[in-house]
């Protein structure tokens, strides 16, 4: 077998890779357009201390300004220098079956129920995880409620309600 001229480098690695912040910024900008500003998203960056090394954390927060309500819907954590691997925490990744069910699953399949936050090795992986969170039942329900409550409030105050 000849290897001359072949690239062994992984696919999907190119100069177009995105940082975690860029991925979140794209989604935050899109939300403001979709909701006509009723619900927006902001990104908070913090450096957090862990027992191993300082970690950089990005939080994606939904903001319903009219309702004075803010909700953190996901966090992305990664090293200070290295953006990847990045771990994602969100409601939809928190579900745990009861202990008895976990035992049954383990007995039946030999598999331990995963308890660690999912990790993205590349920007593509991270994009997939973020998409999973934004399309989760938890986020869809919350978003729908916040838009509906915001419209109700504007109506009750005699203010203009954004139309589709």
């Amino acid at each position: 077998m000849t290897v001359t001229g072949q690239s062994f480098w992984p696919e999907n690695i190119d100069v177009g890779v995105l940082s975690p912040k860029e991925i979140l910024e794209t989604q935050a900008n899109a939300l403001a357009d979709i909701t006509k500003g009723l619900v927006t998203a902001k990104i908070i960056e913090t450096t957090v201390a862990t027992d191993k090394a300082p970690t950089f954390q990005l939080q994606l927060i939904l903001v319903a300004t009219n309702l004075t309500y803010e909700r953190q819907i996901l966090t992305i954590s990664h090293g200070i220098q290295l953006f990847y691997p990045a771990t994602v925490d969100a409601d939809c990744f928190r579900t745990r079956p009861p202990p008895l069910m976990r035992e049954l699953i383990k007995d039946a399949t030999g598999m331990e129920w995963p308890t660690d936050a999912p990790t993205a090795v590349t920007d593509r992986d991270l994009g997939t995880l973020v998409k999973t969170v934004l399309r989760s039942d938890e986020v869809r329900s919350l978003l729908t409620s916040l838009i509906a409550r915001s419209k109700d409030l504007l109506r009750s105050q005699g203010r203009a309600v954004p139309q589709k």
């Binding site: 908070i44 913090t46 957090v48 201390a49 862990t50 027992d51 300082p54 954390q57 939080q59 927060i61 319903a64 309702l67 004075t68 309500y69 803010e70 909700r71 953190q72 819907i73 996901l74 966090t75 925490d89 969100a90 409601d91 928190r94 745990r96 079956p97 009861p98 202990p99 069910m101 976990r102 308890t115 936050a117 919350l142 409620s145 916040l146 409550r149």
Partner: protein, 273 residues
Amino acid sequence: MISFLFWNLNENAGAVPYVGRLAMTYGVDIFLFAECPKDTAPLITVLNAAFRGVYRVADEVIPEKVRVITRLVPSRLKQRLTLVGKDATIWTLQGDTLPRVLLVAAHLPSKAGGFTPHDQQTVAEQVARGIMSVEDQDECQDTILVGDMNMNPYEPGMAIVTGFHGLMTADLVKLGDRRFKGIDYRRFYNPMWGLYGDRTPGPAGTFYWDAYSPSNHRWHMLDQLLLRPSLVDRLRNVQILAGDGYSPFLGEDGAPDRDKVSDHLSILFQLEI
């Protein structure tokens, strides 16, 4: 002085009348209820029948995991941020003397719900980070953390530097941030240490677990109050309530009467803020 009461009601509507009597006896400004019955209207009815002010549900936009009912005017208590998992909601409170206090109401996952001690520590670390992030954004470390932690004060999530870092004496907390492996960690004072066991007035803990287990302390301190150093000297009172001033919360066996009231006891505390 602002008076707070945290209580896990175990979704027991039978506990509602006791809440009204607590308002009468203790003049509570802010009630924080974990596992609150879904319909809060009966609570508001009994509270307002106590004629100790006009109570309202503060988390009416989106019901939080820990429901908040207050007689303070809306401008004094505002939702600031709800964290992932709804494990904790951070409120901004305008005190009588302090313009801004952060009030964190938490209800963390339990071992009975499938979380291992390691999982619980992970969640505690995430909540601690969320709190610190808001403290940094708001440039305010006048923070109160209260809730059903589903851990005892000595468990890693409550005590480890990367978790809540809750310490048992005011002197330890006043030493300032602790530097560990080159990183500074904020401290919380956890006065519940001092209420654990039978050497102080009141019940020995907030939750009683009567199970046939070889290692079971029976009394557990799952419900806790923690304060940042700046608020330690402002704490005027903290106690576990064994009754509402009229009726006991304990059954004949000395444990919380889970059928009539709740499987948890409530924490009352007052702060000069």
